[in-house]
């Protein structure tokens, strides 16, 4: 029965993806392109080693952002502030990292800790406001995003700027000890050609670590159980001795701490400082990935990779004069379709269990009668 249950849960994303492909095909057809040609070139371009490295690089921050969002989701908290949390965290991490020179592992650890601390601090404000004043976290985190953007601009311009005479607005560049080497050797190790012009970010391993941390935290710890219980049934959790306010605060702190890591992959791997054109929007896309992966550690990883693949392979469409916005349509549709498909499949699973339980009850009854 469990294998069946697994197959059923795989059915949902598969159906959603096919549905998204159909919608994208219609969109392509409407703009006068042959959908099959477009998909074929996306596939062949998107599966080269260079593209795969790029896909993973794109997926890493999305995955971490999704986990940050999912931690909140587990107890029904909607942390929309991942965006502001990771950018602010990246700014401070970039500034600290560029101003110290230490033994490499220590250097990297300090940068990570700064990012986690700043991210947690920023989300903690929203948690504190909710617990003490009842401010809804959606409102406060949106507001904190805007505040973060302004704070970043101010600090970058006035305090953290590397070279005031340079046109390039950035924090000091990390010395070698603050950089994480690329992982392109993995490709050659498996006999593929090395990605060209792209370095597979070494932060990949940290992302995997964050995924394991998330899984263990939510599924295997007491805290994770209390977190899920609060999300599923606040009344029952309260009766069970879970203090709701403390839960909100701690969850927001952990969510923000993880959010602080979102920008670090690019920072350690390629930019080596916080720059004016530091990648934005990852926090918001992370919400979509969390929905797509249904808060599951593996599901979100697959979702992040799918988004990474779509973004990367869309680049080829530009060269072929096809609007690459088709991919954004696909991203949107796939999230919506997955949400709906999961709901349908969950109901199927539930019905199945109720039936099984009813049957078990009946068989117990008859066996009792026989023995009696």
């Amino acid at each position: 029965m469990n294998i069946r249950k697994m197959l059923l849960s795989l059915l949902a994303p598969a159906a959603a993806l096919i549905f998204a492909l159909i919608i994208a095909a219609i969109a392509l057809w409407v703009v006068g392109r042959n959908p099959f040609d477009a998909f074929a070139s996306m596939w062949s371009f998107g599966t080269t080693p260079t593209s795969i490295a790029s896909m993973i690089n794109r997926a890493i921050p999305l995955y971490i952002a999704a986990i940050a969002v999912a931690i909140g989701f587990q107890m029904g908290l909607f942390n929309i502030g991942v965006e502001g949390q990771y950018l602010l965290a990246a700014l401070f991490a970039g500034w600290v990292g560029g101003n110290i020179g230490l033994w490499s592992p220590l250097h990297i650890t300090i940068i990570i800790l700064v990012a986690v601390f700043v991210g947690a601090l920023w989300s903690g404000i929203a948690g504190f406001l909710k617990v003490t004043r009842g401010v809804h976290e959606v409102i406060s985190t949106i507001m904190l995003n805007f505040i973060a953007f302004s704070v970043i601009a101010y600090f970058l311009l006035n305090w953290f700027r590397d070279d005031p005479t340079s046109l390039n607005l950035r924090t000091p560049v990390f010395p070698e000890s603050g950089q994480i080497p690329d992982l392109n050797w993995i490709f050659t190790m498996f006999g593929f050609s090395e990605p060209r012009g792209i370095a597979l970010h070494g932060f990949f391993f940290v992302a995997i670590g964050v995924g394991i941390f998330y899984y263990m935290l939510v599924k295997r710890t007491r805290f994770g159980f209390e977190l899920r219980a609060s999300g599923m049934n606040p009344g029952a959790a309260r009766m069970a001795g879970v203090a709701p306010k403390k839960m909100v605060l701690v969850t927001m702190l952990i969510s923000g701490g993880v959010a602080g890591l979102v920008g670090l992959s690019t920072m350690f791997g390629s930019l080596h400082s916080y720059t004016q054109d530091f990648p934005r929007g990852l926090g918001f896309t992370g919400i979509a990935v969390a929905l797509l992966g249904r808060n599951s550690a593996v599901g979100m990883a697959l979702g992040a990779l799918l988004f990474g693949f779509m973004e990367r392979s869309a680049l080829i469409l530009d060269l072929e004069d096809t609007p690459k916005e088709v991919v954004q349509i696909m991203q949107g549709v796939v999230v919506l379709a997955v949400v709906i498909a999961y709901e349908v499949v969950n109901r199927m699973i539930e019905k199945r269990e109720i039936k099984a339980a009813a049957e078990a009850t009946r068989s117990v009854d008859t066996s009792e009668e026989v023995t009696a």
Partner: protein
């Protein structure tokens, strides 16, 4: 056969929900222009009956006549068209709109495509003058007192042309002075020829205002009486039933050791109304103390206060020689206070989660469920299997989601997980509500056995058979106060009913 003088006539109304008969062969005759009270305990079927009259639910059987004409309402809209209006216990008003806006909402007067507030305002003033209901159409609802909100609701119903008003426990939310004002309004309504159906628990109020009284018990209408012919005590007896179950003559296992001692417990609502008022009692080791009372008189608050969910304004709760009012809920549970919550779906279960996680809920910080900060999956599963075996939970296994189980089996799991943890004190709130007879007997046996072993139990229930059958002592709670301490072996229906409905209290004061 149809009587023109009757505003509403119900004959043979039956309504069943899965597993529950809410109304059975209900007969009700409300004369036009009278105030007709319907009294009965919670669960007696009053609300269902009102919903049927108001078109919110269709009866399975029986006929509804309004002014002699047979009706088959499919929605409240059709009932409103026939001049029936309902004022719900929980007001359905938008706080940030004015009285005027709230009243016209849904049936707005228009002039062309524009809203005609002027005509609405004049109509409201007219209604106010006619029925003596003082109301300011331009006041914001959030600034109104509870009494004024209720007047707004009544005017809203009248504005829609109601000639028959159903008021669902209108006095429950009012302070005494507001009750007097309401009664003045109701008499005005009667003067103007309106019919009022009035639901209440408060027998003195009913006797004061009603022209006739129908008593419901166990989903049936048991009697319709004239208020001049009965007194509150007789009415109480009708509500509770003339025969109380006889308690089981089991040997008393009550010891001298006080396990839980509550003294002068007080708690206030956000508005400063007392929820619990000077509650004091002891529970001894091996004793079951029953709390009887009409629902909503402080039972839920008492449970929350003992569990540390509701903060108390004064008083003490002594447990294991310490005052625990400042303890967290977690600490209270870890130290041996168990709870069977009143509403298993809202307070007791994670419906989508497997049984073993449900068994863990409330014990997630202790062995065998936890190992330091980690969940002990094997320990939790083994414990769950033990609960399933010992308490006869019918399930394919511990990994099934709780939602797949029947109510009785869900309840057995909850009772089992609390019992197996061997608490010192158990709060059992409606432990057998909504479960089948077999499961009920099993739960009762468990409680009796645990009592023999020395467990101190606080039993809160609406089921008199349960209360009298299990309790060593019976306390009655009314308006947040303990108003009586009775011997379940000697109590009479009249006594119990009087205390539960507050008759005895008012007589004494």
């Amino acid at each position: 056969m149809a009587d023109e003088a009757l505003a509403v006539e119900l004959t043979g109304i039956t309504k069943t929900f899965p597993g529950v008969i809410a109304n059975e062969d209900v007969n009700l005759a409300v004369r036009a222009g009278e105030i007709h009270a319907i009294v009965g305990e919670n669960g007696a079927g009053k609300s269902t009956l009102m919903k049927i009259i108001y078109g919110m639910q269709a009866p399975d059987d029986g006929t509804i006549r309004v002014r002699g004409e047979e009706m088959h309402f499919k929605s409240p809209k059709e009932a409103i068209d026939e001049g029936i209006g309902m004022v719900h216990q929980h007001f359905m008003l938008a706080d940030n709109l004015t009285v005027l806006e709230n009243i016209v909402l849904g049936s707005e007067p228009t002039k062309g495509i524009q809203l005609d507030f002027a005509s609405g305002r004049s109509q409201i003033n007219e209604i106010g003058a006619k029925y003596g209901m003082d109301i300011d159409p331009d006041a914001l609802v959030e600034s109104l007192t509870v009494g004024a909100r209720q007047r707004t609701e009544i005017v809203k119903v009248l504005y829609r042309g109601a000639k028959i008003l159903i008021l669902d426990e209108p006095t429950a939310v009012l302070v005494p002075q507001e009750v007097d004002e309401l009664f003045v309004s109701l008499r005005e309504l009667k003067e103007e020829g309106e019919t009022v159906i009035f639901i209440s628990h408060h027998l003195d109020e009913v006797l004061e205002i009603a022209d006739s009284i129908t008593v419901m018990r166990g989903g049936r209408t048991v009697a319709t009486v004239d208020p001049d012919d009965v007194d509150a005590k007789q009415l109480a007896e009708l509500m509770v039933g003339s025969e109380l179950p006889t308690p089981e003559t089991t040997e008393s296992t009550v010891t001298d050791i006080v396990e839980l001692s509550i003294r002068g417990l007080e708690a206030l609502s956000d508005e400063g109304r007392p929820l619990l008022d000077d509650v004091s009692f002891d529970i001894h080791r091996g004793e079951i103390v029953g709390i009887a009372g009409v629902e909503g008189n402080g039972q839920a608050e008492l449970i929350d206060a003992i569990m540390g969910i509701l903060s108390v304004s004064s008083g003490s709760v002594h447990f294991k020689g310490e005052d625990i009012v400042d303890w967290s809920t977690k600490r209270r549970r870890e130290d041996g206070i168990g709870i069977i919550p009143a509403d298993r779906h809202r307070q007791g279960l994670l419906l989508q989660s497997p049984l073993w996680e449900n068994a863990m809920l409330g014990h997630q910080t202790v062995k065998p469920f936890a190992k330091g900060p980690w969940i002990d999956r094997k320990g939790a599963r083994d414990r769950t299997v033990a609960i399933i075996d010992r308490f006869g939970v019918k399930t394919p296994g511990p990994d099934v989601a709780a939602i797949a189980l029947s109510g009785g089996n869900q309840q057995k799991l909850i009772v089992g997980k609390e019992m197996i943890a061997e608490p010192n004190v158990l709060i059992a709130a409606h432990p057998t509500r909504g479960i089948d007879v077999g499961a009920q007997a099993a739960v009762w046996d468990e409680l009796r056995d645990a009592r023999k072993e020395g467990l101190a139990v606080l039993l809160i229930s609406a089921d008199l058979e349960e209360l009298i059958g299990l309790s060593d002592r019976l306390l009655v709670i009314f308006s947040g106060r303990i108003v009586a301490d009775l011997d379940p072996h000697a109590v009479t229906p009249e006594e119990l009913g009087s205390y539960m409905t507050g008759v005895e209290v008012e007589a004494a004061s």
